[in-house]
Symmetry: C2
Subunit: 240 residues, 2 copies
Amino acid sequence: MAELAYHRVYSQLTAQIKAGQYPDYRLPDERSLTDQFGVSRSTIKRALGILVSRGIVFQKQGAGTFVNPLYFKSKPLFNYTGDNIGITDSLVQDGQQQSIQVLHFHVQKAKDEIAQSLFLQPNDFVYRIERLRLVDGQPFMIEIGYLPIRLVPDLNEEVIQDSLYTYLEKEQHLQVTKSFLNISTEPSTASDQKLLQLKPNEPVGVMEGIFFTDSGTPIEFSRMRIHYKYMQYNSFVSLS
Amino acid sequence: MAELAYHRVYSQLTAQIKAGQYPDYRLPDERSLTDQFGVSRSTIKRALGILVSRGIVFQKQGAGTFVNPLYFKSKPLFNYTGDNIGITDSLVQDGQQQSIQVLHFHVQKAKDEIAQSLFLQPNDFVYRIERLRLVDGQPFMIEIGYLPIRLVPDLNEEVIQDSLYTYLEKEQHLQVTKSFLNISTEPSTASDQKLLQLKPNEPVGVMEGIFFTDSGTPIEFSRMRIHYKYMQYNSFVSLS
DNA sequence: TTCAACAAATGGTACGAACCAATATGCAAA
DNA sequence: TTTGCATATTGGTTCGTACCATTTGTTGAA
């Protein structure tokens, strides 16, 4: 499958920027890029639009297109370069050893909030998966996930020892590419303190998320309680 | 100034969706919308692209364009509908009474992290503004902001009693439309507990942000400590 | 009745043209 | 030297065309 034109331009520009090809933080104008890449200006605009939306560059009418110098200085916690959107990828640094302890695993009827979030009928069944996640042997997150049994009929205790999304992608050919997240914080409960090795005054970060496949089907509702030292979320917001 | 075509389409579609005009969660196909709105398909695609990027609808090749039913159910804490990006706008609900107490206000040399974040030379001066923000009389956030003195030469104690960004927009014609945010959580300090009326085991949410004007100039570095009950952040993430 | 092949519907990609709007530049006048 | 204006530069908007890719519906043969 030939790579799409706008994606090729986007990739190459990103690579050029990372390689420091624009030390003056200024990109060539769009019409020159049209010549350089041999595509239309519309395609250039599309590629630049992605760079803008990710906060890598910004544009100013009449002036030009400029690299956001902070982007590559800040830690790349929010660099979604992979295919999937698993939370751990953004919380955990490269090279650290992740592991998973399954705390509970069973099937139940979806209760109200879960059913609503996952678009289920009141009597549909879901897996309830409670796991403790560790990095380099240190527990950092309690994760309770709910998945419709209909969408993933053959889950078992062995599968959920590893990354769920890797399994979904590899075995079920489901790509998880969208999510709603709600982030908040709470004092830790006794159970949190025990599992995450927290002192009584130390809090947890709480993330609730609904995750969707490519096609817009909600596939997981997840509630995560995160050791506060590991709770980090970066985001770039741009209006207009 | 006449409204732009793609924006008109976006607004009207959003309004229609909110009004429940598509009970089957399905929008007309793009070519029909072209006729309905009297604009080209490119313009329709642009408007729909915004709806997609905000998670309001999703599209599927060969099938159609569908409303995301979860979008309007979730609490709109983070719905940037105004011109500016001030934090209070997104944390505080409509109709609640906001007020501000100025705790400290002075000018100092920018220290390392601040200087780097705001793109300053080591000897440049910044305002340091420490404020306590309340909603309906209840303190909910301690905010320490740093602004380059060069960009806003005439700040004074009176101005910072009110919203800084409103002032910047009205008086300085600076629009703040972009930000990098980093969100985390910590146990509350003694000072937090006193100012925010927290119990010792209750935590604070921590938001650090760099805010940019339209033109990409960093204008504020802000460190916010938020009462945990007010700490709520919603986000929609979509890959690809 | 079932299923496979075909057709229609629908979003995706790409091109190119024309013109507008904001900013930067250079030159001439003060 | 400084200021102000004309011009060039550069991104923004909109239109329209052509064709591709995926999904869904239809139809006819087995």
